[in-house]
Amino acid sequence: MSSAPEPTTPILNRARFVVTVIGIIWSVLALRLVQLQWWQQDRFADRAEQQREFAEEVMARPGDIVDRQGRLVATTLTMRSLYVVPSRISKPWTVANSLAEILDLQADSLFEKMAERHRHFLWVKRRLTTAEVDKVKELKLPTGSWGFRDEYRREYPQGVVAAHVLGLRDIDGVGRGGIEEGLDHLLGGAKGKRKLARDSRGRVIEILDDIEEPPLPGQNVQLTLDLVVQLFAERELDALMAEWKPESCSAIVLNPKTCDILAMATRPTFDPNHPEKASADAWKNRAIADIYEPGSTFKPFVVSYGLDQQVLHKSDMFDCEHGQYRMGRRLLHDHHRYGTLSLTDVLVKSSNIGMAKIGERLTNDRLCAAANLFGFGRKTGIELPGELPGILRPLKQWTGYSTGSIPMGHELATTPLQLIVAHAALANGGMLLRPRIILPPNSDSTAAVRQISETTVSPEVARWLVEVPMQEVVTRGTGKRARIPGYNVFGKTGTAQCISPAGGYVHGKYISSFVCGAPVEDPQLLVLVVVNQSSVGGETFGGKVAAPAAAKILKQSLVYLRISPDEHLLKAAAKWKDDPPE
């Protein structure tokens, strides 16, 4: 047998070359493989995971809001929102037309949006009703081109009641105004995250088990408001709007011992369930965001401070100059021509000349100290957003004019809340408390002691102010329309001219206010009504416009809260009614 011929050298060389090249290529590939699988493993694993998995935010359910009796004020429902994927819809007009028909939408505009084939997501309608969801399902739209997503919808079962205190949540669940905004960090909870797996085309194929961060539901919040008292206030404001046709009005009811707000109402108002129907001027919570000159409702603070500093005495008499008094270059007038008035009568008759003379005795330093002491010029610290601090100019900007103006409640501006909180200090014996609208968790609603408080005047002075001059304002002074059978009521009227944005005052436009409380012996409730620019009936005094409304709110609230009337006063009132004195 003959042996095979020996390969020639060139062939051998070629073979060696090919083997070497293949060997090198394989070696390079092997090294690259080792590099990918060994050194760069983590990096590529992460990238692969990122391409396959993505995190989706899971919305947290906002907490409920209830009043002090546990009545539901705001809650959250889960609703379904419909979306489509325009890039996967082959017949946009058919889909748009059928959806528009059942969802009460404009077919043309929906079609225009759906026709944009590059879009991968389009909300059709958010927060559908159950009936709408069923109708959409019955359409049997092409799979993968549409879907529902769960969203939360805020519901306010009380409608317009306490709308300004509550505020609302917008379509994206963000708190806007009121408690919804102020306590969004508590009510809103914390969003969670979950991982979803998707295919190469980005379609979700699996919801992975491990939720990275579960959503934290929002906390429930209990308000100090009592919805029945709130309703009393709202009804009276509606009646005021109908009778006096003012630009706006507001009312606050609070417990002077704790400064718990029982009612806070403003007109014009809105329905948080239908915010789209609200007028532009309806959004403002005028109880905390409207400032005005307090007028005569400021006078008791000046008198109480003067008494506390012993610059004034209860027995002091003031010559009211029969209605005209020249103070420097300024000529002051009273509505009636008073002669000599006692300190009590200066407040009861609300004499501007008497107060100017008190101002001269106190001087600007003490007047400024009095205003500061009762919290004017700074925020009260209530838990609502948008509160204004009012206006109290620094002492160095005060002039001789201020000595006459400040004691009358001019040259400074206050919010209704500031004013009633300051009056609460007189009613509770001299303690200026921070008002609150949120009840702390697990607290007794009758808890009287508050940590943040300041002493303003001595309890004796505060009691005297309430029991004598302020009670007499109601029994024989400017606030007679606030008398309530069976209760000793105290109060103070206020009428101030409207400030013009261009400077000075607007002639013939007044802000009427009345603050009252009862019972005098142990004040349990305080009511303030402020009426801005009534357009009916000329000079609209606080005692004429605001006092009847405030008295009605006070009367209804006293009875509702079972604050016992004085039997002797009741009998006297009944007797007076049956047999009025000649």
Partner: protein, 139 residues
């Protein structure tokens, strides 16, 4: 163990002799037993694993269903609570109560042990004494 063998036959191929191993049944039995035992172990581990996995999936499904049911019930509870609160808002009831068209009804066994004070809606006891004696109609 010493191995013993018996010559069986002389094959046609020269030099090739077939022997029978006398210890084969015992050895085979041991080998088969070991193999069978190993196989059984593997199969039983696999079956146990499958059973556990099935049970695990069943529990997961059950848990998921319960969570879903709980979420649905909570939703229903929220909706019903909302509806009941809507129907009983003071704004709806107050005027009817004041007019005397509706009266306050105290259930025989109240849900809340702590007595909630019901509103007293006669503003002036002296004026409304007669209306208080009127038999109230319940709606």
């Amino acid at each position: 163990m010493s191995r013993s063998a018996t010559r069986i036959s002389q094959n046609s191929i020269p030099g090739l002799v077939t022997y029978r191993d006398n210890s084969l049944p015992l050895e085979c039995a041991v080998i088969f037993f070991r193999f069978g035992a190993a196989l059984l172990l593997v199969v039983s581990v696999a079956l146990a694993g499958t059973a556990l996995e099935t049970r695990n999936l069943a529990l997961k499904r059950s848990l998921s269903q319960q969570q879903y049911r709980m979420a649905e019930l909570m939703e229903k509870q929220v909706a019903l609570r909302l509806e009941s609160q809507r129907l009983g808002t003071p704004a709806k009831l107050l005027e009817a109560l004041e007019r005397g068209d509706a009266s306050l009804y105290r259930p025989p066994k109240p849900q809340r042990v702590d007595e909630r004070r019901a509103p007293l809606l006669n503003w002036n006891p002296a004026e409304n004494r007669s209306s208080r004696q009127r038999p109230a109609t319940r709606k």
